[in-house]
């Protein structure tokens, strides 16, 4: 997994590529915890994300909870397979997917 960050004022775009699984999710979690202060618009760019397991979903949920209190979060570039996982788990109702 690779994480890229792009910050413009109060907008932060985080790109995640590769596999977001049990082993890599903690890294994303830490990155988010360290970067979300003062952010009002968070964009999770999943264009190059291949795989997400429940550990990755938990990180997303926690980011969503944080952003609900300080602004908004959108998820972009979701592929079909990952979209399916969001649907099965009800995440498609929680997340703003564009």
């Amino acid at each position: 997994m690779n994480i890229t960050k792009k910050a413009e004022d109060k907008k932060l775009t985080i790109g995640v590529d590769g596999r977001l699984d049990t082993m890599t999710a903690p890294e994303l979690d830490e990155e988010l915890k360290a970067s979300l202060g003062g952010v009002e618009e968070l964009v999770m760019d999943f264009s190059d994300l291949e795989y997400i397991s429940s550990a990755g979903l938990r990180v997303l949920l926690s980011a969503q909870k944080t952003m609900n209190t300080q602004g908004e979060m959108t998820v972009t570039g979701v592929n079909d397979v990952i979209m399916e996982i969001f649907e099965v788990t009800g995440f498609s109702d929680i997340l703003t997917i564009k």
Binding site: D21, T22, M23, Y51, S53, S54, A55, L57, R58, L61, S62, Q64, K65, N68, D80, V81, E84, I85, V88, T89, G90, D93, I94
Partner: protein, 529 residues
């Protein structure tokens, strides 16, 4: 009355002591021994005490003097009374003292089996003795006993001889008489039990191959096979010869156990327990080496002289061929004929190499019939060398320590199988999710604060194809499927972060079930791919 005799065998002086040695004759015995030893070029010393009845401290002093000159020498065939004296005085720690073996006679005993290296006699109602043909078989016997003990300790069911005896000038191993029938006999008498035999045979084979052997305990089969390939260089054209060597060298090293001679004569059914016998060929290595010797036993060995199969295994060649093919399919966990054939071809390369070398070393090129047999194997081998570029294959089971960092090899194993089977992207992702979830659960919780192993097993079966994946651990009994479903209609604030993985697993798999059996948590998932 004492007697001292001596002889020189190779470089070893063997002194035989009989009768009593005490202060009245010790000086004379000592003189005779040193006189005998001065007669030749003595490298090492061995004292045969079979006929020695008594030794006093003056006799022991002679043994000490000899030790100063010859270092750690051997006392053999030491009777119980003399052994007790040597033990009490600490001599058993100063030199190598071999106890006398019990002597038995097999005169008039029923012969219950005959093998390449010995004959098995029934000595009474409960015991049999395997008498070795080679009079110097002691090392071989001890080696086999040690190997059997090692296998038993590592969890492989086997029969161990409980005593070594002298039978005339030979040695014998004594075994408890088991009311056992070999798988060869079962197949010969009850061909309808074929499928049952295949299942038991493959179960035990997998158990052997799962077993990790501590370093240095068993020979490395890869190195042995490299030496076969090297030997073949003189008998194959240059290019195929070189390819053979390169293929064998490219097989990765492995510390997993191989039996080395795994055919139906070496599996015995006693009661409802399956026992493995003939443990002298145990080794470590990649399973392709095992499959090679299995192919030889069932097919390759009798390929020229078809009668060999029946003479060797006790059943007809078509039965042997069917048994081999069914076992290979079950071992690989696939019904895909192409895949089975591909692995068979790899095994045949090593198999023919071994057969050809063995026959040439036994003078096969000097006999017209056997030369024709070698030519047949050789033509098969050359054809295979033209087609096969890799001797390894994917096993359908792996065992790893149940830790989070082993998620990567588990996923690699799973993906390799699914890709090979042509699985759709969507099904593959869902299977990956499910396996990750269950494996991480095992890694996190199954063994508490301790550690343990997890086995992951995959079979691709049926049409349309479905993947059947089993995860197994020996941790605390725990059924993850009992975990309550998360409420997926709740908002982000209300949602708890747990339970998602199991929920996903249940939702995306066609079938999931859990059982706790024989000390193992077993979770099986099925999904069309």
């Amino acid at each position: 009355m004492e007697e001292v005799k001596g002889r020189l065998q190779d470089n070893t002086a063997i002194i035989t002591l009989t009768g009593r040695i005490d202060s009245s004759n010790a000086a004379q015995v000592e003189e005779e021994i040193f006189k005998l030893l001065s007669d030749g070029e003595v490298g090492s010393l061995c004292i045969d005490m079979q006929g020695l009845e008594f030794i006093s401290s003056s006799g022991l002093r002679i043994l000490l003097k000899l030790r100063k000159i010859y270092g750690d020498y051997r006392l053999t065939d030491v009777g119980p009374e003399i052994y007790e004296v040597l033990h009490m005085t600490g001599f058993t720690e100063l030199m190598t003292v071999e106890k006398a073996y019990r002597r038995i006679s097999v005169d008039g005993c029923e012969v219950v089996g005959e093998g390449a290296n010995g004959t098995v006699y029934r000595i009474d109602g409960d015991n049999v003795v395997k008498v070795y043909k080679d009079a110097n078989a002691l090392d071989e016997i001890q080696k086999e006993r040690e190997l059997a003990r090692l296998a038993l300790v590592l969890g492989i069911p086997t029969a161990i001889s409980y005593d070594v005896v002298r039978v005339g000038d030979s040695y014998g191993s004594v075994f408890e008489l088991l009311d056992a029938r070999s798988f060869s006999k079962i197949l010969a008498d009850h061909p309808e039990k074929m499928d049952w035999c295949v299942e038991e045979y493959v179960d035990l084979l997998k158990k052997i191959h799962r077993t990790v052997v501590p370093a240095g305990k068993l020979p490395d089969m890869r190195r042995v096979a490299i030496s076969w390939a090297e030997y073949m260089q003189d008998y194959l054209p240059e290019e195929p010869g070189r390819k053979l060597l390169q293929l064998v060298r490219a097989v990765p090293k492995s510390n997993h156990m191989l039996h080395g001679d795994y055919h139906t004569k070496n599996l015995e059914l006693t009661g409802d327990e399956v026992l493995l016998i003939d443990m002298d060929t145990l080794a470590t290595g990649h399973p392709v080496f095992e499959l090679a010797s299995m192919f030889n036993a069932f097919v390759g060995f009798g390929e020229y002289d078809n009668g060999q199969t029946k003479r060797f295994l006790g059943f007809d060649r078509p039965v042997a061929f069917e048994f081999w093919r069914k076992s290979l399919a079950a071992y690989l966990g696939t019904e895909d004929e192409d895949r089975i054939r591909a692995v068979e071809d790899k095994a045949r390369i090593v198999g023919y190499t071994r057969l050809i070398r063995r026959s040439i070393r036994r003078g096969g090129l000097e006999d017209a019939e056997r030369k024709a047999e070698i030519e047949l194997w050789k033509s098969e081998l050359l054809e295979l060398l033209d087609e096969v570029d890799d001797l390894t294959f994917l096993p359908n089971e792996i065992r790893v320590e149940a830790t989070r960092k082993n998620l990567a090899p588990v996923m690699q194993f799973l993906c390799a199988h699914l890709e090979q089977a042509g699985c759709s992207m969507k099904s593959q992702t869902e299977l990956e999710l499910a396996v990750e979830e269950i494996f991480i659960n095992i890694a996190n919780y199954a063994y508490g604060t301790g550690t343990g192993e997890a086995d992951i097993h995959i079979e691709i079966e049926g049409d349309p194809k479905q993947a059947v994946i089993t995860l197994r651990d020996q941790g605390m009994p725990y059924n993850p499927l009992e975990k309550e479903d998360p409420d997926i209609t709740l908002s982000a604030e209300e949602r708890d972060i747990g339970g998602l993985g199991i929920f996903l697993t249940r939702k995306t798999m066609d079938e999931v079930h859990y059982e706790y059996r024989d000390g193992s948590n077993i979770l099986t998932m099925k999904k069309k791919i």
